[in-house]
């Protein structure tokens, strides 16, 4: 119950924050509402047993990105609270399109039978995602490969408790304790994320350098007065 309650609370906060971001004209306030919304998303992550992700969301988004945005606002704003108004017609059109898009998405979500897509999904939506059910699902496999059954059970338990840091770290190193590699065979997903991780790392580095390069103070060749100022 408490979980549902928490979910609704944070869901409302998330959605409301997002709508407020859209509705607010002042940039600084938009940033505030954005923080509210993103923070609530982090809470939702916790609810989904993605603890590390929730933490990362808070750290990176709320602590990093939004601060960055605020810096941006500061650097670009002519005045401290400047607003660039949107025409009301545009707002209406935007709202209408947004609503329609929302309807499309909602109807899409509603029209998909998620249980049929996922083999692990319980037949009844009410059925909780438990270690038992996992155990049942893997019973036949456990008989064949009894040595690894215990490990798998442990993993499922760990996952349910949201302690996924270790698993994520291992997956970034290319190790997937949560997967039976024989099961997926050639069609299964890639076993680890070592290479993407490295790419993303380098990418991040490059982007930071690039961003620094782009954002550095430049002299403008075309404008004589700016040259004299510099």
């Amino acid at each position: 119950m408490i979980e549902q309650l928490l979910f609704y609370t944070f869901a409302i906060l998330t959605c409301g924050g997002a709508v407020a971001v859209v509705a607010t004209q002042n940039v600084v306030r938009m940033a505030f509402w954005l923080v509210v919304s993103l923070g609530s998303v982090a809470a939702l992550f916790f609810l989904l047993h993605a603890d590390f992700l929730g933490a990362a969301q808070l750290l990176i988004y709320v602590g990093g990105t939004v601060v960055l945005l605020v810096f941006g606002v500061m650097l670009t704003a002519s005045g401290p609270y400047t607003t660039i108004k949107t025409a009301p017609a545009e707002g209406i059109i935007g709202a209408a399109v947004g609503l329609m898009l929302l309807m499309v998405l909602v109807s899409s979500i509603g029209s998909v039978d998620w249980g049929a897509i996922s083999g692990r999904l319980p037949s009844s939506p009410q059925s909780p995602f438990t270690a038992d059910s996992i155990r049942e699902a893997h019973a036949d496999e456990a008989i064949v490969n009894s040595g690894s059954t215990k490990v798998k059970t442990d993993l499922a338990a760990i996952q349910q408790q949201g302690r996924t840091v270790r698993q994520l770290g291992l997956s970034f190193l290319g190790l997937r304790p949560d997967r039976n590699l024989k099961e997926g065979g050639a069609n299964g997903l890639a076993p680890g994320y070592f290479l993407p991780f490295e790419i993303v790392s380098v990418h991040l580095l490059v982007v930071l350098i690039g961003a620094a390069y782009l954002a550095r103070a430049k002299r403008r060749a075309v404008s004589e007065d700016r040259v004299s100022l510099d």
Partner: protein, 103 residues
């Protein structure tokens, strides 16, 4: 022990996504547009994590969400740099002023 189920999370993600899109479409302020982008990305992230929890996606959903967060941070950094450049060039952050892409 109650569970809100997958659909509820997906709804939240959808709302976030739509808000992000509308934000991008309506804000004339460049920073506002960036915020819209963040919202869209978060909408997607919510979905990923929800799928990780409720479907066979498992740990992969969380991993990809993590990547998204990281890339979003990178994107924000670059986007801000672009916004600054834009501001340097146009002396404003109004994206309607930047219509060089007009065919």
């Amino acid at each position: 022990m109650g569970d809100v189920g997958l659909n509820a999370y997906l709804m939240v993600g959808a709302v976030l996504f739509v808000c992000g899109v509308v934000c991008m479409a309506t804000k004339r302020n460049g920073i506002g547009v960036l915020m819209g982008v963040e919202l869209v990305l978060n909408g997607a992230n919510v979905n990923f994590v929800a799928f990780s929890r409720y479907t066979s996606l498992g740990l992969d959903g969380q991993t990809i969400a993590l990547f998204v967060i990281v890339l979003a941070a990178a994107e924000a950094a670059v986007a801000l740099a672009i916004a600054l450049n834009f501001y340097n060039n146009h002396l404003t952050i109004d994206v309607d002023r930047g219509n060089e892409l007009q065919g």
